[in-house]
C-alpha cells in the first residue's frame, strides 16, 4: 500500500454532519465504572442530533436518563485497503428519549445492529464535531 499520494483535510461541522447522516453504522463510546466502552450501533441524524437505538444496559441508560451523560460517537467510511475516505467524531451529551410518540417514530426508522429485547432510544447532542477526509492526490 502506498500512503504518499493522499491529502488530509479537516471537515467543517456541516460537512462532517452531512457525511455522518449519509451512513447508518457507527460506534458509541461511553464510560462505565470509569472505564471506556464502545459498541457498534445504527444511527440516524435528526437535525444536529444523533439518534441511536440501544440495549447498552443500565449504566449508560440510567446516566442518560438522569441528567445526561457525555459520550463520543464515531462513524467512518474508510476503504479497508487504501484507507481513503472520512471519519467523523461527535462528542456530546446523551439523554434518553422518553416521549412514546418520539420513541415509536425513531424505532420505525432505526434498526439495531444486533436485535435485543431491551431497547432504548438515545439522543446525542452534537456539541463538538470533528471530521477528516483523506483523498487521493491525482
Amino acid at each position: 500500500m502506498t500512503t504518499a499520494a493522499r491529502q488530509i483535510r479537516d471537515l467543517s461541522r456541516e460537512e462532517a454532519l452531512d457525511r455522518l447522516g449519509s451512513i447508518s453504522l457507527g460506534r458509541i463510546v461511553f464510560t462505565r465504572n470509569a472505564l471506556p466502552e464502545i459498541r457498534p450501533v445504527n444511527h440516524l441524524l435528526d437535525g444536529h442530533t444523533v439518534i441511536i437505538r440501544s440495549h447498552l444496559g443500565a449504566a449508560i441508560v440510567s446516566a442518560a436518563a438522569e441528567r445526561g451523560v457525555v459520550v463520543a460517537y464515531e462513524a467512518d467510511n474508510l476503504d479497508p485497503v487504501t484507507h481513503l475516505g472520512w471519519s467523523v467524531i461527535v462528542t456530546g451529551t446523551a439523554y434518553l428519549i422518553r416521549e412514546p410518540a418520539a420513541i415509536a417514530h425513531y424505532q420505525q426508522r432505526l434498526r439495531p445492529w444486533i436485535a435485543r429485547d431491551m431497547d432504548y432510544v438515545i439522543a446525542i447532542g452534537a456539541d463538538l464535531v470533528t471530521g477528516i477526509e483523506l483523498t487521493a492526490i491525482r
Binding site: L25, V29, A34, I38, P40, I89, T91
Partner: protein, 153 residues
C-alpha cells in the same frame, strides 16, 4: 424469501478468542478508546499483532499521549470491525487491556515498519496493548444449510 437484512435471516454469535485474534490480523485499522479528563475519547489508529500482543501506532496527539505515558498502566479499549454497510453483516471485536508506550529504539525499529498509519502520517506513538479481555460478535446470514442443520445453536 426473506431479505438479508431481515432479523429473522440473521444469526448473531460470539466469536471465540482464537477466531477474534485471527480476525485482528486481517484488518489494520481500529479505534483506541480511552477516558480523557473524565470524557470518553476515541481515535482511529493502525495495529499489528505480534506474539499475541497488539501493537498500535498513531500520529502524535496530546490527549492520547497523556494516556500512554500515565504513571502505572492505563486501561484502554481497542475496537475494530468489518461490517458491510448495505447488509450490516460482519463482525466487531473489542479488546480491553493495559497499554504501555514503547520507547526502546530496538523495539521501535522492529515494529514501526509493520505499522501503516491509515492517514499516511508517521507513527509517533507506538504502544503495546496486553489483551486481558477479548470479545467478539459476528452477525451472519442464515443459509439454508444452517436452517437444515440438526444441531440447534
Amino acid at each position: 424469501m426473506t431479505s438479508r437484512t431481515d432479523p429473522a435471516s440473521r444469526l448473531t454469535r460470539h466469536l471465540p478468542r482464537e477466531e477474534a485474534l485471527r480476525l485482528l490480523e486481517v484488518v489494520r485499522l481500529g479505534r483506541i478508546v480511552f477516558v480523557s479528563r473524565a470524557v470518553p475519547a476515541i481515535r482511529l489508529v493502525t495495529h499489528t499483532l505480534t506474539d499475541g500482543r497488539l501493537v498500535i501506532g498513531a500520529a502524535y496527539d496530546a490527549e492520547l499521549a497523556s494516556v500512554l505515558v500515565r504513571p502505572g498502566l492505563s486501561h484502554v479499549v481497542y475496537q475494530t470491525d468489518r461490517i458491510d454497510p448495505a447488509t450490516q453483516l460482519g463482525w466487531s471485536i473489542t479488546l480491553t487491556g493495559r497499554v504501555a508506550l514503547i520507547q526502546s529504539s530496538g523495539e521501535l525499529d522492529q515494529l514501526t515498519p509493520r505499522l501503516h498509519q491509515w492517514n499516511g502520517q508517521p507513527c509517533d506513538l507506538v504502544a503495546w496493548i496486553h489483551p486481558e479481555l477479548l470479545t467478539g460478535t459476528a452477525v451472519e446470514a442464515i443459509t439454508n444449510d444452517d436452517a437444515a442443520a440438526d444441531s440447534p445453536r
